[in-house]
């Protein structure tokens, strides 16, 4: 501010620059905080888009033999909804928070490769635009565009030229190819940053859990997105260069695609849930006023989850026709993941135990997360049992299960993270009243929709059907599922309204509104471009605790 004043030409107005300049600053920025916010804003935009797609599907399914959308449009909707939510909402969201928080929490001034960081954001952004350009572009059907309708996992041979003429599958493939490169580069950047940019005194054993979880998440991204990207290239070779990897009409293998997709697809679940664990691991201690219980075990459990999650992919293929050995192997590996995951839940519980829990919005979302992730984990254990999954695979039970993971787990934790770090990112406090409205509306909507959704699956309702027969006991349940959407939509609108309103009119937050313990709270809100005037030195996992309690510092016990 003062620099700008002294440098300004006398008589010129320095406070309101032209919009173009501001825009240019954002487009050309290499600052990890701005890129983080760009990722998050981008994710929020597509959250609304994909949410609208889901709402249209729910209207179609509100009663049997409804004709709100045509079968093909319904298939396009679930393809776009799934692809968008995973690749252009969940991924950018976790990358956005990691980008913003990791350098701040490890006391660095930026990511290791700031330009690469900007490059990967714009690749990801471009991927989402390609996918949605299919709504209007290409030489597809007149007026209907060339929106892909192959499902978000795009099983072969539906994507072969025979079954998918035109360019709809190409939009899908290319968008994932491009954003896949963005994801891999971001992961490389995150790993390099965490390994080499930590401030003095911050050994790996003293890193905040969020940094640890982001590190493992980034490692998984490299392992998982690689095969997906390779598969996209193979699919393009099939479609344009006469290859036959997945072209079953010419002897190719449909099962090969499944392996490629799920060896990406399952670690991907952990790519998304580890950051959610990270948010909870930061928020729960602060709002319970206690140190994280069992930090070394939390780190070990995270690494174990990372490794095990690479050996479970074929539980997505229990109905594909596997040997007995295959069924047993993937059953036991999948169930094994419940152990480190269970340890995490118990550690959060132990952190709250004996604390003084105060229920601001971030903590409310984390408590809901604990219950919902517990349920999601338990249905996950059920689905790990291959024989049980012979009945439930591809049914609404699975749909309910993974929405429980992604919404009940990841999104709830992310909402908590939004409220927790909003004051840091904007320098303004959000409205607690609106946040509580958001919480309760969304909580009710979530449970009305997704608790109910398990049942039609157990009553034989497969996923991805544009309509269904009456008399199968699914009618009322589907009606209830759709009603829940209204509450969820109201919750999300309240949330967005809160973000915007608080940005414009919120009271100043101060640098440490939560009386928290990690480094990001030691700098101003929002932090300056260089983050820290002097690079901090830490002696324990909770440097600000040490500062606030010189009589009882953490480093005496760790």
């Amino acid at each position: 501010m003062s620099t700008a004043d002294t440098l300004a030409w006398p008589g010129t107005r320095t406070t309101s620059r032209p919009l173009v300049d501001k825009l240019q600053e954002w487009v050309t920025t290499v600052d990890h905080k701005r890129l983080g916010i760009l990722y998050i804003a981008y994710a929020l935009f597509f959250l609304v888009v994909a949410g609208i797609e889901a709402t249209v599907m729910r209207i179609q399914l509100i009663r049997p033999h409804n004709a709100f959308v045509s079968p093909q449009n319904f298939n396009r909707l679930f393809t776009m909804h799934g692809t968008t939510m995973i690749f252009f909402v969940a991924m950018p969201l976790v990358f956005g928070f990691a980008n913003y928080l990791v350098p701040l929490m490890i006391g660095a001034r930026d990511m290791a490769f700031p330009r690469l960081n900007a490059f990967s954001f714009w690749l990801t952004a471009f991927g989402g635009l390609i996918l949605h350009y299919s709504l209007v572009g290409g030489y597809g059907l007149y007026g209907a565009g060339t929106v892909p309708d192959v499902g978000w996992w795009a099983y072969a041979p539906l994507t072969a030229k025979t079954f998918s003429p035109g360019h709809s599958s190409d939009y899908w493939t290319l968008s994932l190819l491009v954003s896949g490169f963005g994801s891999i580069l971001t992961a490389v950047n995150l790993i390099a940053t965490t390994i080499s940019m930590r401030c003095r005194g911050m050994t790996l054993g003293k890193m905040p859990l969020l940094a640890w979880l982001s590190l493992v998440m980034a490692g998984l991204v490299i392992l998982a997105v690689g095969p997906l990207t390779a598969a996209q290239i193979m699919l393009l070779i099939d479609r344009y260069l006469g290859g036959h990897f997945f072209d079953t009409q010419a002897g190719g293998s449909a099962v090969l695609w499944m392996h490629f997709f799920w060896i990406f697809g399952h670690p991907e679940v952990y790519v998304l849930i580890l950051p959610a664990f990270a948010f909870v691991s930061e928020i729960v201690p602060v709002f319970s006023r206690k140190a994280m219980f069992g930090y070394p075990i939390m780190v070990a459990a995270t690494i174990a989850i990372g490794f095990i999650s690479c050996s479970v992919w074929a539980h997505h293929m229990f109905s594909v026709g596997m040997s007995v050995g295959g069924h047993l192997f993937f059953t036991v590996t999948t169930m094994a993941i419940a152990v480190p995951t269970g340890i995490k839940i118990f550690n959060w519980l132990a952190t709250m135990w004996g604390g003084k829990i105060y229920f601001k919005a971030p903590m409310l979302f984390c408590v809901a997360f604990l219950f919902q992730f517990l349920i999601a984990g338990l249905t996950g254990v059920m689905l790990a049992s291959s024989a049980f999954t012979w009945q439930t695979a591809g049914s609404y039970f699975v749909v309910a299960h993974f929405h429980y993971v992604i919404i009940g787990g990841i999104l709830f934790a992310a909402f908590g993270a939004f409220y927790y770090w909003y004051p840091k990112m904007t320098g303004r406090m959000y409205s607690e009243t609106l946040a509580k409205w958001h919480f309760w509306l969304f909580l009710i909507g979530f449970h009305v929709t997704f608790d109910t959704m398990h049942i039609p699956g157990l009553l034989g309702m497969p996923r991805r059907i544009y309509t269904y027969e009456p008399g199968r006991g699914w009618d009322t349940l589907n009606l209830i599922v759709t009603i829940g959407v209204v509450f969820q939509a109201a919750g999300v609108l309240t949330f967005v309204f809160n973000l915007v309103r608080s940005y414009l009119r919120g009271r100043p937050a101060g640098s440490d509104p939560w009386d928290a313990w990690t480094l990001e709270w030691s700098t101003t809100s929002p932090p300056p471009e260089y983050n820290f005037a002097t690079i901090p030195t830490v002696k324990s996992r909770r440097p600000l605790w040490d500062l606030k309690h010189p009589e009882d510092p953490d480093w005496k016990y760790e």
């Binding site: 045509s70 079968p71 319904f74 298939n75 499902g151 099983y155 041979p157 539906l158 079954f163 009409q249 449909a254 099962v255 206690k290 219980f293 069992g294 930090y295 070394p296 109905s319 594909v320 026709g321 007995v324 069924h327 047993l328 059953t331 169930m335 094994a336 419940a338 152990v339 340890i343 118990f346 519980l349 709250m352 135990w353 004996g354 604390g355 003084k356 829990i357 408590v367 219950f371 349920i375 338990l378 049992s385 024989a387 999954t389 012979w390 009945q391 695979a393 591809g394 157990l458 034989g460 497969p462 996923r463 059907i465 544009y466 027969e469 008399g471 006991g473 699914w474 009882d552 016990y557």
Partner: protein, 324 residues
């Protein structure tokens, strides 16, 4: 016993496709396992969920709080060890139970006298062949009660999945990847299901109908199905139109020039209760509408409208309606 049992009792009259109303050996095996799995996870939920709820209530910040930080606890190896070992044991129990069910269903050997059916999934209908019996039919499968029927699962185009919840778990039909499953129905009647692996535009209306007959009914049905189509001069006009248009490129009528295999076999069309893989009842009126414009019932179906005149439609419908 837990939620599952409650669902099981209330679900069977409620839904003809409930996994809690098993009527065949593999479905029963899976049902028994499911009950055990559900009981176990409900118990875990009650315990862990109860602990979370307790700690949230008990350790909430009180109004008369003194503002001091609570005692800081950093961890405890004994406690950590306990909540590692207990889940390991639980998982082991679940795994063994699953292994038993997997072996019972998938490890079962095929008896020599088992009924064999080859199921071919097509976009968006089912073809059933009875090898050695000269029977090919579509969309409505007949099997005998109380006997093991082994289904060989093939696909003519994309992935599909055969799922009749009351008879057994699902198995996919994957091109170039032949699969097998078996059922052993305990009671006669009609069992419903549908394709459970996304296969294209009309995946949603690729319905399954399994008729479990008594052995005598089944034998009679097989015998009828193995006969050639009736040749009756009364329907010669319709037959001529049928054989001289593109119909026969896709459809077969045994004993005539029509030998297409892309669409359902029509030799005994009128012995089936539904049209279009279960999408509508098989009446002459619906049949006529179907031939005129399949999209009326099933938009995205691969059968094109044939562009017949009203008279031709009448004649073809009359001919097809004679194929019993």
């Amino acid at each position: 016993m837990s939620i599952g049992a409650v669902l099981g009792q209330s679900a069977s009259p409620l839904s003809p496709t409930s996994i809690f109303a098993p009527a065949s050996t593999p479905a029963q095996t899976i049902f028994d396992l499911s009950m055990m799995v559900i009981a176990l996870v409900v118990a875990i939920f009650v315990i862990v969920g109860g602990l979370i709820a307790y700690s949230v209530v008990k350790f909430r910040k009180r109004r008369n709080d003194d503002g001091r930080e609570p005692a800081q606890v950093y961890g405890s190896q004994q406690v950590e060890l306990a909540w590692t070992i207990i889940p390991v044991i639980t998982v082991l129990v679940l795994f063994l139970a699953t292994a038993r069910a997997v072996l019972a269903v998938q490890g079962a050997s095929k008896p020599k006298d088992a009924v064999e059916v080859t199921v071919v999934g097509h976009q968006f209908w089912w073809e059933y062949q009875y090898p050695g019996k000269k029977v090919v039919t579509a969309n409505e499968l007949h099997v005998p009660v109380g006997e093991k029927t082994f289904l060989k699962l093939l696909s003519a185009d994309t992935d599909h999945s055969f799922w009749v919840p009351r008879l057994g778990g699902k198995t996919d039909l994957v091109p170039n990847h032949p699969n097998q499953m078996w059922i052993e129905p305990r009671e006669t009647g009609l069992f419903l299901g549908q394709c459970a692996q996304y296969c294209g535009t009309q995946h949603g209306m690729m319905l399954l109908r399994i008729y479990v007959d008594s052995r005598t009914d089944f034998d009679r049905w097989l015998k009828e199905q193995a006969t050639l189509a009736r040749a009756d001069d009364a329907f010669a006009e319709g037959r001529k139109i049928f054989e001289q248009t593109a119909c026969i490129n896709c459809h077969a009528v045994a004993g005539t020039a029509a030998n297409g295999r892309f669409g359902p076999d029509l030799t005994h069309l009128m012995s089936r209760e539904t049209l279009g893989a279960g999408v509508v009842r098989n009446t002459p009126e619906n049949l006529r509408r179907w031939i005129r414009r399949p999209d009326d019932f099933k938009p995205g179906s691969l059968m094109p409208p044939m562009g017949l005149t009203e008279q031709q439609l009448d004649a073809v419908t009359t001919y097809l309606a004679s194929l019993r």
